[in-house]
């Protein structure tokens, strides 16, 4: 039987060093040996991803490394998440996420999605090259508080403006978050989005603020 501290170390370092198999084995061991899966997610996988975020900010890691780390993280998260109880008192929500129509790049979107997964959000990932009406349909179907859209190309980011208009027309109470290489805070404002994430790291905290504002508005109305 392995010590939990030892397993946490394997999970954390496995994410940082993108050791997919080791992370999967350690995650299974956490369950098999009756350890706390939430602790394994938070102090193992998420702690590893936090270090990956630091390495990314300091330009030690770039996109290829982060993608590999993400694979290792999901190798563990997919095993542990079904066993993690819903957290009390933690602000989470539902989110629809996707790369807009015409944009086949979803690297940034996947990294942001991963941060929401770690934070315990219910994520409805539409993938890449998503037709604009699909964002509208999925938001209505899931009643998600946030719709997050990304674009990596300046040409495709224009679609975000049209998507926002379409979503707001059907449901003015949803909050929209934009991100992607060519998107700036100012662009997000101009396009009519409530939120903007300049990195995966701040996407979740921005979403939490947006959900809090939405709920505040909702309470005032009722």
């Amino acid at each position: 039987m392995a010590d939990m501290q030892e397993l946490l170390k394997i999970l954390k370092e496995g994410v940082i060093n993108y050791q997919i198999e080791e992370v999967g084995k350690a995650a299974q061991q956490v369950l098999d040996e009756g350890h706390d899966p939430l602790e394994a997610v938070m102090d193992g996988l998420a702690a590893g991803m936090e270090e990956v975020g630091r390495l990314f900010d300091e330009e030690e890691y770039f996109v290829p490394e982060v993608l590999m780390c993400a694979d290792a993280l999901y190798g563990g998260l997919d095993i542990l998440r079904p066993h993690v109880p819903k957290l009390e008192g933690v602000v989470t929500g539902q989110l629809v996420i996707g790369s807009v129509e015409g944009d086949v790049h979803d690297i940034g979107k996947n990294i942001v999605r991963m941060m929401f997964d770690i934070a315990g959000w219910e994520v409805h990932d539409l993938g890449r090259d998503v037709p604009l009406e699909k964002f509208v349909e999925e938001q209505l179907r899931t009643e998600s508080e946030i719709v997050a859209m990304s674009a990596m190309m300046t040409t495709t980011m224009q679609a975000m403006k049209r998507a926002i208009e379409m979503i707001k027309e059907k449901n003015p109470n949803v909050a929209i978050m934009l991100g992607g290489a060519p998107v700036t805070k100012e662009t997000a404002d101009i396009f009519g989005a409530e939120g903007y994430a300049d990195s995966a790291g701040n996407a979740v905290s921005e979403a939490i603020k947006m959900v809090a504002r939405l709920r505040e508005q909702h309470q005032k109305k009722h």
Partner: protein
Amino acid sequence: MNKKQRLEAIIKGETPDMMPVFPFVLTHGVYSNGWTLPDVTGQGWLDAEKSAQTVIQTVKKYDYDFAFGSYIDLYFGVESLGGELKVPDQLGGVVGAAKYPVETSQDWPGVKKKLASVFERDERIKNTLKAINIVTQEIGDEVPIFAWGMPAATNASTLLRVTEALCKDMILDPDFVHDLLDHANKFCIEFIRRQYDAGCNSICFLGDVFGTELISPKMYEEFGAPYVVEIVEMVRKEFNQDTWLHVHGSFFKPKAYGILQKLVTETGVKGLLLDQDHSPSWLDENIAQKYNIPVGIPYHCPYLYVGPEDRIDREMKEYIPNCNPKHSFMAPSCEIPPDVPESHFKAWVEKTRAYSSEFYHSH
């Protein structure tokens, strides 16, 4: 000065009469002519005459200085290698790949064989070359017509394999990546060669998304710069033209800036267009003054799209006095967005000319 003299001036480091504008028109020309993409191209076909008119008519309408020789998207060759194009019909869309030829490494040997004859088989490429011929015959005497291409990694990520997979391959299987990149770069070189043969008469302009936005400076040294060298050398040797590079990413930190230095001093790149994070004064101090090469003043694309005209006016007025008169050309931070309104485009060109003319004459 005419447009060719204006270009010559910034290449030589002399002050032109006004700042030249290079709007980096790709899909915009289609919508500007009142067409949608399916009017101009589709899976396995491209209308050469319409492709040519996307250039000719926008040059006439907006009177900008440097142009590409045809309609351009980033997926030429994909369908001839077993991939599938996606051609949206709504205003503002751009061509993409619905399926990439190399989904797994097992697909690669077969795709490699198809690559050998792609220029003889691909109708979109063949008709693009016809379009270049039409354009250069009609406006090539007055307008510098640029050839274009995407160096190895960027070309591989549009022609062969989706970016995310290619990024992971760079860590997991670098030999496989180099094989892909060698072939993607050969494709790029041959496409450029044929564009010059078809009539392009000026700079070779490369677009590279694999700058520091995606990969580390160290990776760029392995997967980027060596391939740029091959293109620069061919263009210089066979056509006696300079190569300019549009590269994405942030180049402020020493390691990343080192890449720019290397590109200019070792690979022979003779002009740069970075993204909107790099201000005119930073570009002046760190590129134009240091290396005496033309540098694009990157105006953030979405602002062209949303305007309004008085904002564009205000910003050109602020931008221009911070630019280096001897080396600057005005450009969008990447491809001009497809559905930029006519009035915004015109305001941008006119204000650039008006304020730069005033500023240059006062120098």
